[in-house]
């Protein structure tokens, strides 16, 4: 059962993954490969120091599109399950923004599907980052770094 979660506070990604994995109902011994990705807030972007960030989303539409991205991954790749966790609200450097994970029998599908999740999320899921810069100004991030 795929799992999508929007979270408002900081989370430790590996602890959360250990907590959520049993909820998926995967059969122990039934999967051979797990590919995981985390995106973490850097204290620099496009050459500037970044002191804080706020992530806005579109409640409802965001979850719906994350679920659809997982559905598409399940159709394209031979995977068993997947999850996406994404942070919203104020975020500090060093904190995790996104966690994706994919389980499959063999490694190729897990690697490819996990990368697919992240690329699709970056291009389609309604989230917007506003950065507070070291000089006191703020700016909306206009586009993501190419993947």
């Amino acid at each position: 059962m795929p799992l999508v979660r929007i979270v408002e506070g900081p989370f430790q990604p590996w602890a959360l993954l250990a907590e959520l994995e049993p909820e998926l109902g995967l059969r122990p011994g039934g999967f051979g490969a797990t590919a995981v990705f985390t995106g973490t807030m850097r204290d620099f972007n496009e050459g500037d120091g970044v002191t804080a960030m706020t992530l806005e989303h579109y409640p409802g539409m965001t979850e719906r599109h994350l679920e659809r991205i997982i559905d598409e991954a399940c159709g394209r790749f031979d995977i068993l399950d997947a999850l996406i966790v994404h942070r919203v609200g104020p975020i500090a450097p060093g904190e995790t923004i996104v966690l994706t994970a994919v389980w499959s029998a063999h490694r190729r599908a897990a690697f490819e599907a996990n990368r697919f999740l992240m690329e699709e999320l970056k291009h389609r899921a309604p989230f917007w980052k506003k950065e507070a810069l070291a000089d006191g100004s703020a700016r909306w991030v206009e586009q993501n770094t190419p993947g």
Partner: protein, 77 residues
């Protein structure tokens, strides 16, 4: 008919609010909604549109009860 209009991220800053509730009549497209709601503020290039939380285009016809959203390119992850 009644339409809810939402503005996200930099478009919320541009319009000066995050949503409008509009009462509007006739054959109305998403582009018409923008003009009516914003008082003809020029739409920034690369603005994205959703109708009822699905991506849509400016020519899409809007119906009673629809939720129309305008936002800049997404930057999650």
């Amino acid at each position: 008919m009644s339409v809810k209009v939402r503005y996200f991220a930099s478009l919320g800053d541009l319009i000066g609010r995050s949503e409008d509730q509009m009462d509007i009549e006739g054959h109305i497209t998403v582009a018409d909604i923008w003009r009516e709601a914003t008082g003809e503020i020029p739409m920034p290039p690369r603005t994205l549109v959703a109708v009822n939380q699905e991506y849509a285009d400016l020519e899409q016809v809007v119906h009673d009860g629809d939720e129309v959203a305008f936002f800049p390119p997404v930057t999650g992850g």
